[in-house]
């Protein structure tokens, strides 16, 4: 890949600022439904992306055709496009040479996982469900990339992922298990299947409760949705520059219990150790003990912000959408008191939070969330894969799904967070592009605006 990157730079020639990324991704996903494998896919793709700045004009292009002819075509199209486009006065320049801050996650066994390894995990999940209906996937992925630019920056890296996301179904109720890891050995289909089955069994016979504001405990999959929307809309440097984000660095916008970071290089990070502009990744603290500290920038949004530096969050095509964190992590809270055992419904990590609720709801997962207003980050969506009523610290009744309409920053505002779990879980997003790592959280209020029947 480094060779392809060098060849493309040579084809571009002197006098032009150019950057080249060559990426190879091998993705394999074994999908099951009705307790059998119905889709089993894999692909291996190498792509080349070129961005150049010539005579004050900027253009970019990409191709999967890596023959000499294909690469020459990429260079020709991109140079032609640059000549025809208007000047780009906001060009921030290329990333300067800089060493990587770490290697990121890599595991050979995960990268080389065969179809049988994924099928075996599916088999174990299905068997652990004890004859109940199951559906979901087991995915392995590895990616390698090489970046080079005409300013002398040259970096390469690799990363690997395994993820399992599946449900057990019984009587119209679903129980969920969702986990991402950098190591194949850490994903056990039997453990996940048993957990999902227990939750499904405990969800049967759900009752409908009236909408309204409820105290809630959100488990990690639900918290991951908050992190995703914060990443896309709140801590996006472009949204911030355009005043479409709620983020105000220096302001106490969250409860003191909230510390948020993006950390690709840490144990719960996914991705290459550099961004689309070749800027090395590093841990970026976005919120520290409730105080917003930073937003994610690429080189252009950093320059537009004035005095900021790229935080290593450039993404391909980010000129339109902006810079977004892909390895968001909500830091866990302190361990408090003795371990609490609340049965199979509650993940052990959430049990102490549930025990502290007088009357509220335990929510496993959020679904189909969409932003009504990006600035206040008011989001509507539905609960999914299990909701239970909590009374006097005990799980008492399964509850049918709700629709909610809730400002996410307000849900975590000062005084609104009553507890943060002591253990984190890493979950994949649906597109294989990001991980979100979070503990369960206990919130004073969540605005449910409709029931399952309307």
């Amino acid at each position: 890949m480094e060779d392809i990157a060098r060849r493309v730079l040579e084809m571009v020639g002197p006098g032009v600022e150019a950057e080249v990324f060559v990426g190879h991704t091998a993705l394999a996903l074994t999908r099951f439904a009705n307790s059998f494998i119905h889709q089993n896919v894999a692909d291996a793709t190498t792509s080349v992306r070129l961005r150049l700045h010539a005579d004050g004009r900027t253009a970019s292009g990409s191709t999967t055709v890596t023959t000499d002819e294909g690469l020459a075509g990429l260079v020709r199209r991109t140079r032609d496009a640059a000549r025809l486009l208007p000047p780009d006065p906001g060009w921030p320049g290329l990333a300067p040479p800089a060493p990587l801050a770490g290697e990121g996650n890599w595991d050979q066994a995960t990268a080389q996982a065969a179809p049988d390894a994924r099928a075996d995990r599916v088999r174990a999940f299905v068997d652990a469900a004890g004859g109940l209906e199951t559906a979901g996937y087991c995915r392995t992925m590895h990616a390698a990339g090489a970046f080079a630019n005409s300013a002398g920056q040259s970096v390469s890296g690799r990363t690997a992922e395994v993820a399992m996301d599946a449900i057990v179904r019984v009587g119209g109720a679903d129980g969920l298990a969702r986990l991402a890891s950098g190591r194949l050995s850490e994903v056990d289909g039997a453990v996940l299947g048993a957990r999902a089955a227990a939750k499904a069994r405990a969800s049967t016979g759900a009752v409908e409760l009236p909408p309204g504001r409820y105290e809630v405990v959100l488990e990690a999959p639900a918290v991951a949705d908050l992190l995703q929307n914060f990443a896309l809309y709140g801590f996006n440097g472009k949204s911030y520059n355009e005043r479409r984000s709620f983020a105000e660095p220096g302001a106490e916008q969250f409860d003191k219990a909230i510390t948020l970071a993006d950390d690709t290089l840490g144990p719960t990070g996914l991705g290459l150790p550099f961004d689309a502009e070749g800027t090395p990744k590093r841990r970026v603290t976005l919120v520290s003990s409730g105080v917003t500290e930073a937003v994610a920038h690429d080189r252009r949004t950093a320059a537009e912000a004035g005095g900021a530096e790229s935080t290593g969050h450039a993404v391909p095509g980010g000129g339109t959408f902006g810079a977004t964190p892909a390895s968001m992590r909500l830091e866990p809270g302190p361990v408090t008191g003795e371990p609490v055992e609340l049965g199979a419904v509650v993940d052990p990590a959430a049990a102490p939070l549930v025990a502290a609720v007088e009357r509220g709801l335990l929510v496993t997962d959020l679904w189909y969330t969409r932003v009504l207003d990006p600035k206040s980050l008011v989001v509507t969506g539905l609960t999914r894969n299990g909701v239970w009523l909590i009374e006097d610290g005990e799980i008492t009744t399964p509850v049918r799904n709700f629709r909610f309409t809730q400002s996410y920053p307000q849900a975590l505002a000062p005084g609104a967070v009553l507890g943060v779990g002591a253990e984190v879980t890493t979950v994949p997003d649906g597109w294989g592009a990001a991980w979100r790592t979070a503990p369960a959280i206990h919130l004073a209020s969540w605005n449910f605006t409709g029931g399952a029947s309307g």
């Binding site: 993705l27 996903l29 099951f32 439904a33 009705n34 307790s35 059998f36 494998i37 119905h38 889709q39 089993n40 896919v41 894999a42 692909d43 793709t45 792509s47 253009a59 970019s60 292009g61 990409s62 055709v65 075509g73 199209r77 991109t78 025809l84 486009l85 208007p86 906001g90 065969a114 049988d116 099928a119 075996d120 599916v122 088999r123 299905v126 559906a135 979901g136 679903d174 355009e242 005043r243 479409r244 000129g319 339109t320 679904w367 009504l372 207003d373 600035k375 008011v378 509507t380 969506g381 999914r384 799904n401 629709r403 309409t405 649906g430 294989g432 605006t449 409709g450 029947s453 309307g454």
Partner: protein, 478 residues
Amino acid sequence: MTHFDAATAAVQAALDAGARYADARVMHRRYEAMSARNGDIEELSQSEDAGIGVRALVGSGWGFYAVPDLSDAAARAAGGRAAKTAAASARVPGPAADLVPVGAGAGSWASACQIDPLAVPLSDKGDLLVHATKTMREHGADVAEGLYQIWDTEKWFVSSEGHRIDQHIRECGAGISSTAIGEGEVQRRSYPAHRGQYGTSGWELVQELDIGAHAARVADESRALLTAPLCPAGETTLILGGEQMALQIHESVGHAIELDRILGWEAAFAGTSWLDLDQLGSLHYGSELMNITIDPTIPGALGSFGFDDEGTPAARRDAVREGRWVGVLAGRDSATVAGLDYAGSVRADGWSRLPMVRMTNVGLEPGPHTLAEIVAATDDGIFMETNRSWSIDDRRLNFQFGTEIAYEIRNGRQGRMLRNPTYTGIGPVFWRSMDMLSSESIAWGTPNCGKGQPGQIGHTGHPAAPARFQNVRVGVRG
């Protein structure tokens, strides 16, 4: 070596490795998109990708493998890998998989295109976006955005049953939006739809949209929305504009009639469907005004093609007739499981993705009225148009939509502008309340339909016209 040769080699390799059925698609796609912001070009993306995807059926298990290499050796290796992957599926086997018969043979199809969108000079296309966004900025837009997208896709399909089909599909579209930023919220107006309008068409579609002529209006409206009164909360008579109707159809009918969802194949991610096959032919889905068709033959609509990605020729079919549910979007294997005798709605997002059940053009046949007549016949209600947000549950029942703008309707006349309009409901209850439908139908294009794992983006079309609904809950807020 031709692309047909590569596909044939891949299919043969899969059969040699034990597959009892195999097919292969070679695809070559060029994509171009340009965005402008506040009078400047923001980004130009041009990409080219080409590769081959092979599908193999071994016993009852499917396998799929794809590579971006069209050499004979790579195609054969991909065929073998697809069969090997299918064999691994036998570790968790399902019922016997068969394919509903379709006519096999040679075919060729191309979408109509008067002006090749990739041949239009970049400078002309840039000027269009720069002018429109500059105009919006001059009219008070805090953020003025414009976008066009072009896809030029060629496919070569070969199956072990004898299919040998090539297609050339050109799609494009464009749109603009103005964002006005207030103290605590932002307001947006778009034309002709959020992210634009798209079709299987040449650049003539973008010319017809005439986005520059609408720039001043959308900017003015976005600013006016900042001080408009809030959409009231309660139950009322709701009139939806055609573009919002298109998304209403997409989300609460199109996805619900996907056979793979009905069969539970999407249960863990996209979800299932509230529809039960036992009720196919008898279920009362909506009012008698509701006639929904599945029609990939509509010229220029975004979900049009000559053959789907299993080689089934495009054909029109009823999904809902006079309010009764009568048809589904099906593939060859799902149709067999469901005991149906038709397929034709399977497509893949590129050569590297498995073909799956997708909407084609799922649309509402026009009604007898005009929007003006519907407004004139409404004593008390709200008119909403242009989608801003959408959310629906995993069975496609409970939905909540937000639109960019709304107007009061009082005594048959359009009144005050309203901001932050939302409405919510349950699919069949909502559709049964439709009591007036306009004849002013447009085939709206949705270029961003997400489904599947790994994720795929689908292009779908939705003929739709303004319509009126009774007793709808509006004004849901956080």
